[in-house]
């Protein structure tokens, strides 16, 4: 039985690459937009820094207050808390490092979105 010859690679490639029929929008975009749920905008960098700083300041204040508390909690927990030494200069380095990270992350996010 004779089998028909098959189209060569070039013919098939040309067929596959031929432009598909156009699909008109016909209100599709409007339907998608109507279905979009509200979305929170991302936090701007200045606000992010402020929040990070406030959070760290809060932690620092809490830690300082904690160190003055006469512990009524279980002894083991209080010992663990007392054993955790955290000097002010260390807190400062931590705040600076976290702020730098927040700024770098924000800059990188912008680059990524732009496809850089």
């Amino acid at each position: 039985m004779l089998t028909p010859p098959e189209p060569d690679d070039d013919t098939l490639d040309a067929l596959l690459q031929s432009a598909p029929r156009a699909i008109p929008d016909d209100g599709f975009t409007a339907r998608v937009c109507a279905a979009l749920p509200p979305r929170k905008a991302s936090v701007p960098p200045a606000r992010r820094l402020l929040l990070s700083g406030a959070l760290l300041l809060g932690c620092l204040v809490a830690w300082m207050a904690w160190s003055r508390i006469d512990p009524t909690l279980p002894t083991a927990l209080a010992d663990a808390a007392r054993g955790w030494s955290f000097e002010p200069w260390q807190a400062l380095i931590f705040v600076i490092a976290l702020s730098a990270w927040a700024v770098a992350r924000d800059a990188r996010e912008g680059d990524v979105v732009a496809g850089v």
Binding site: E6, P7, L16, A22, D25, F28, V112
Partner: protein, 186 residues
């Protein structure tokens, strides 16, 4: 990587939650995605458009997770493809669907009127992965790497899909190499 206009629209949508910017993205890419999904669903326009709408909504919700290491439309196609696979899996096992495709391919009658129509039918008989690979690489202009990323498969698997798909298409379209057919078409 990304068209500058896309990058600008994505940035606006991401940073300000700007729906109008996102509408611009939808308008720019709706044809591409709907065409891709129509191919995947065997030209089921209703299902393809439902999936496309869902893909755009998901993309909007997950826009922060887009890292820009591939074109936005490839990322979007990946979402559409996973939604399609999810729908196929819910209705029938994917392997079953692929076996059915293979059976239909063997039994498919040759039916003109046109080469383009036959090509559509032949593509519809491919497995989901093969169809997706052929559509992305040949009809959507994606590079092999981009298509592999969009489909979430290794590059080698994508190339295997392409080879198999082209082999099947070549067999399905073989009758068009007969002079009589070509004369009828011409």
């Amino acid at each position: 990587m990304n068209d500058p206009a896309d990058a600008e629209l994505i940035a606006s949508a991401l940073q300000r939650g700007d729906e109008r910017a996102y509408a611009g993205l939808v308008a720019r890419h709706q044809e591409f995605l709907r065409h891709f999904l129509r191919r995947l669903t065997g030209n089921d326009h209703g299902t393809a458009d439902d999936l496309a709408q869902e893909a755009f909504v998901r993309a909007w919700q997950k826009l922060e997770t887009y890292r820009g290491d591939s074109a936005w439309r490839s990322w979007l196609c990946g979402i559409g493809y996973r939604l399609f696979l999810g729908r196929v899996r819910r209705r029938e096992p994917l392997d079953g669907a692929e076996e059915l495709s293979a059976d239909r391919e063997e039994a498919a009658p040759y039916s003109p009127p046109g080469l383009a129509l036959d090509l559509e039918q032949a593509i519809a008989l491919l497995s989901s992965g093969e169809r997706a690979a052929i559509t992305l690489c040949y009809q959507s202009g994606c590079s092999h790497g981009e298509a592999a990323t969009a489909l979430g498969i290794p590059l080698g698997t994508l190339k295997t899909h392409l080879l198999r798909a082209k082999e099947k298409l070549r067999r399905s379209l073989a009758p068009w190499n007969h002079g009589e057919r070509l004369k009828v078409e011409g």
